[in-house]
């Protein structure tokens, strides 16, 4: 093994990640090459210093107390019975409606039997609708309705009865004589003077 071949193996060798055979070859080279041995030793010390520096740190008790409390709270919430459905829908009529729709959808997805059942229901509804007698419709004339001439005769008879029952009407007052148009002012003055 040559010196330049050793360069990329430094890190994995120091991390004990090399195959046993390669590790042995590296060790043999280091035993024979003081330059490489010194370079490896220097890197090992520097890595150790960096690692020690990186590991410097404190545990913050308040932070972990908060985190642990959050975990416990989450566990307790998970153990309580749910008031809502798994999909976050509110309980009550909305949930019941959703469940019904879901079941209907599930039934329709079940296969051709569900579709056949639905078709049978529709056929039954249509049959009953056409077979049943017509209900009394208040605005439609039935078969026993009077003809137009009968209606006209009945109306004329009713009008006659009303005329007979009504009180006799008063005589119309005579029209007042129309006032003569005033004469000229000079005529009236002469009449006054004469009188």
């Amino acid at each position: 093994m040559k010196c330049d071949e050793l360069e990329p193996l430094r890190g994995p060798y120091l991390d004990s990640e090399l195959e046993p055979g390669i590790t042995l070859a590296v060790q043999q080279h280091l035993a024979a090459c003081p330059d490489c041995a010194r370079a490896f030793a220097e890197q090992e010390k520097l890595e150790a210093r960096i690692t020690a520096g990186l590991k410097q740190g404190q545990r913050t008790p308040a932070l972990w107390q908060k985190v642990e409390q959050a975990v416990i709270t989450g566990a307790l919430n998970a153990s309580r019975p749910r008031l809502s459905t798994p999909h976050g829908q509110p309980a009550g009529w909305h949930a019941a409606l959703s469940t019904l729709c879901g079941r209907l959808q599930g039934g329709l997805r079940a296969g051709p039997r569900a579709w056949a059942g639905l078709a049978a229901v529709w056929a039954l509804i249509l049959t009953l609708n056409f077979a049943a007698p017509e209900a009394d419709a208040p605005f439609v004339a039935g078969p026993k309705a009077p003809s137009h001439s009968e209606i006209r005769l009945a109306l004329a008879q009713k009008q006659l009865w009303l005329t007979e029952l009504a009180p006799p009407s008063e005589a119309v007052p005579a029209a007042k004589p129309k006032a003569a148009s005033p004469g000229p002012r000079s005529d009236r003055r002469s009449q006054l003077l004469n009188s």
Binding site: L63, E68, A75, S79
Partner: protein, 192 residues
Amino acid sequence: MSDTPTSNADRFLALLEPIERDLETYCRRLMWDPQEAPDALQNAVLRAFAAFDRYREDASFRAWMFKILTHEAFSLNRKHARIARHEFQLEPEELAALAVDRQPDQGDGRVFSAEELNERLEPALAASLKTLTDTERAVLLLRAMADLRYREISESLGIPLGSVMGNLARARQKMRILIARSALRPNLPKET
């Protein structure tokens, strides 16, 4: 064992407790905005608990949790995707000076103490993590902080094993370069 929700929660929290610190540190490192780390953590834990029924007992709970947290952090990080990333061009002398054993002196012959080095390292780490892509950062952190094997990282992120190795190599190289720069130039302004 009963399967009531509360017993599930007890079992889940018992598994979670030993890795809480690692999860939080990982999350703060992985997020573009560390202020969002609490939200990411809470979301990830609640998501994991909701899926706990599907968790297999023989699987690594640690790897499973880191996987969920990684995806949560990625989704929150997406809004920062347009943040410009730095380009790295190292000078040859900088590349030659990556020896980390040598503690740089401060000009008066005094060397940095371990605490001072750590103080200097932290902002450099935070700044250099921001220069990585999401995948590079996640691979690096899952390896360095979660101690996951390459195959576990591959499964967690849903990327091939070769991509894990490639991303890890690139991430480490960028980190080494930036850390070395920071060590070589003690007066550089700290990146936030």
